[in-house]
């Protein structure tokens, strides 16, 4: 029988909240894995409260948690912990992104869970990693970004740095975790052995330094990487240029300098000895930027874009989020995708970035309501009766929010 998607048959026990960990399990759910999201009683994943909200539902939560099953448990209660330990026995992967040490204090450290299930793969995601002087500190995306030397590389040299208004570090750490879990699953497939994986935002951010670390180190400190605003410090013209109504990104390599000069009607620049190599153009880059922007000031961004595209200059419009969401390429490829939540209604989110030829259609997934799958999961996988689950809910060991009228639960296949 053809599986419904790549990871059908794998079961993931997911203690993660916020963004980095939920990114990993979201991609696993998109690939067909069964993800049991363990939410901490009484309120569950804090992102249930994040904007934008409608009908009691958070778009943020929906984007990150589609296709997962929610159980909401008081793990500090021994009965809750016992149920979770039963689930550990039937899962392939356990993920958590608490502060280092917290999962062990809950009674679910690697030394405990590996004995419950010797084939288990456990992955911890944290800001700074499970060991080292910084491991105990609280951390979020931008904190790891600051420590990694990445934030210092964004902005004008004489001004404070900037940070991007999006969660590059969290999402990237989530994808790194996904890769490591996969390799461990491949290894387990051959050897039958589980293992523990330590993923951090700091490692993932630092991994993005394709040039800075080696160039500083290799040159013995002669090359000091530094932020340089809208234009690159090592190549020119390479940067963001102002048009009448917006900005263009342009990179002009050696063979595109002459066509660019011609397009600007500035054939006189072609033989100008100040500009005939990249090194000289870097030296005179502010002059060059001024010349190009003086030419562009009479152009709308999209007109200049077409003109430069015709000359095969690598160029792009700096699109705003709304513009990107309306771009025909992003729509055609479903880079931006419209989904329908049972409570919230229609919503656009980024599409799945992993495209498999054997599984071209995305799965139809729903984000769970809090504790929606308490009964299903604990009766099927932990041997509890429906009455016992109800009693535990009455006791507050398990929590579930009532489904609104007209909303039906998604039964497992």
């Amino acid at each position: 029988m053809q599986p419904k998607h790549m990871m059908e048959g794998y079961r993931i026990l997911d203690f993660t909240q916020f963004l980095a960990g939920p990114t990993t399990t979201r991609l696993l759910a998109e690939m067909g894995a069964e993800v049991i999201k363990v939410e901490l009683a009484p309120a569950g994943d804090p992102t249930h409260q994040l904007p934008h909200r409608r009908a009691g539902r958070s778009g943020y939560y929906i984007q990150q948690n589609r296709g997962k099953k929610s159980v909401c448990v008081d793990i500090r209660n021994p009965k809750g912990l016992a149920l979770i330990k039963e689930l550990v026995k039937s899962c392939d992967v356990l993920l958590e992104n608490f502060s280092p040490g917290a999962i062990a204090r809950l009674g679910l450290g690697w030394d405990v869970v590996r004995h419950l299930n010797p084939e288990l793969i456990m992955c911890s995601i944290s800001a700074f990693g499970q060991t080292g002087p910084l491991s105990e500190l609280p951390g979020f995306d931008y904190i790891a970004m600051a420590v990694s030397g990445v934030m210092d590389m964004i902005g004008d040299p004489d001004q404070p740095p900037y940070f991007p208004m999006l969660g590059i570090g969290d999402v990237s750490a989530g994808v790194h975790a996904l890769a490591a879990i996969n390799a461990a699953l491949l290894y387990r497939y051959k050897t039958g052995r589980g293992q523990y994986i330590d993923i951090s935002l700091l490692d993932s951010y630092f991994h993005s330094h394709e040039i800075n670390v080696q160039a500083y180190s290799g040159s013995k400190g002669k090359i000091v990487p530094r932020r340089s605003g809208h234009h690159h410090y090592a190549a020119a013209p390479l940067g963001l240029f102002k048009c009448r109504d917006g900005y263009l990104f342009m990179v002009v390599m050696a063979r595109q300098w002459v066509p660019l000069c011609k397009a600007m009607g500035r054939d006189d620049l072609i033989d100008n000895p100040n500009y005939d190599t990249n090194a000289k153009r870097v030296q005179h880059r502010l002059e060059i930027v001024a010349i190009i922007e003086d030419w562009l000031k009479d152009f709308d961004r999209d007109d200049a874009l077409r003109l430069l595209e015709d000359m095969h200059v690598p160029v792009a419009p700096v699109l705003s989020v709304p513009e990107a969401m309306e771009h025909p390429h992003l729509i055609e490829r479903e880079v931006v995708r419209t989904i329908h939540d049972r409570g919230y209604g229609d919503l656009q989110i980024p599409g799945i970035p992993l495209r498999f030829s054997d599984f071209p259609e995305p799965l139809d997934l729903q984000a769970p309501y809090l504790g929606e799958h308490n009964r299903e999961i604990f009766s099927q996988l932990a041997g509890a009766t429906v009455a016992e689950v109800a009693a535990l809910e009455a006791e507050g060991v398990l929590v579930s929010e009532p489904l609104p009228a007209g909303v039906t639960t998604i039964a497992s296949a």
Binding site: G132, S148, A184, D198, H312, S320, E332
Partner: protein, 404 residues
Amino acid sequence: MQPKHVLDGYRVLDLTQYLAGPAATNLMVQMGAEVIKVEIGPHGEPVRNFPFCREGRSGYFIQQNRGKKSLCLDPKTPEGLDIIKQLLKHCDVFIENFAPGVVSRLGLGWDVVRELNPEIIMCSISAFGQEGPLAAYPGFDYIAQAYAAVSDLIGEPDRAPSLPMLAFGDVGTGVHALTAIGYALLERARDGGGQWLDISLLDSYFHYHEVSVQAYSASGGKVQPHRSGSHHYAVGPSGIFKAKDGHLMILALLHQWAPLCRAMGREDLIADPKFVDNDARMIHREEMIAIIEAWLQTLPSDAAALEILEGARIPCAPILSVPEAMAHPHMIERRTVRTIEDRLLGKFQIPGMPLRFSKYAVDEDIQAPLLGEHNAEILQRFLRYSPAQVRDLESRQVLFSKPV
């Protein structure tokens, strides 16, 4: 027998260059896979000349290509193309990052490759993906970043956006490619059969939008994502604050506002209606920033500020430069920054392996190949070519190598 690492036994034919593709195979090789890097003769991988260079060796090349085997050939010759085709029969993965359509024109499109080896996983990496209106355009990291509406979210609102001086997009796309390849291998182990993977910088960059796309869409355009300089536009305090010596990142979200007020000795602000919740603090953002920066100026040093904030469990950090990060005890202890030794370039530092497995330590002793260093080994082992045949192909410029 104990495998040497998690991907021991997998073989990859790597037709990628520059950064995104090599980042994927860089991680694979560090997990024990055998990676045969096919370089296009006569010069091979263009980054062999990227800075920093010494002794004819590029630190850039070494960082991305340690542990790979180099086979340098001309795929436009029939014999060169045939070598690639024969090798594909021995590989689990074929990865390429040419512009869409180029591998097909070389005679190595998915239709050909799957016939040669029905179990192979082929992964194509491109700027915009294999089809769609932008597919044919030339693309680099920053180009996809601009189209993905990521550049637009970096910098001051009333000025041009700022370019990050590092390649999130290429490296991130490489990691996305790695995951897709790995899950395809896992599926193949159970169900059999290869498939073709289409990975792009645009998809990977757009995937980073954790809030902006849904918030704009769901609010019917009321929430307009925008760059907002050194402070976040939607939550706070969350930003870069001027301190005594330099700048500090401070993130005091929701429940951390009261501890921050107490840490500053300003209990009076906790219940102040101007700052009582996140919405109020966003309305009075400038005033709030001024209060925090004024407090930071009263402290003797940034270190003193960090000590107080860390004591109150408020997420904070110094904004380290690359050299400072490389010298930080945490990065050194965990080998987030790692020293390697190239046979020619000598010792220098690169970022460490970001995937940490309990069963295997990182292998420090792998070398980036010289151009065509493994021509003879690869052709003899898999295709039974004799040393004389390899020499003949080198003399006829089907194969290339560059001895030291």
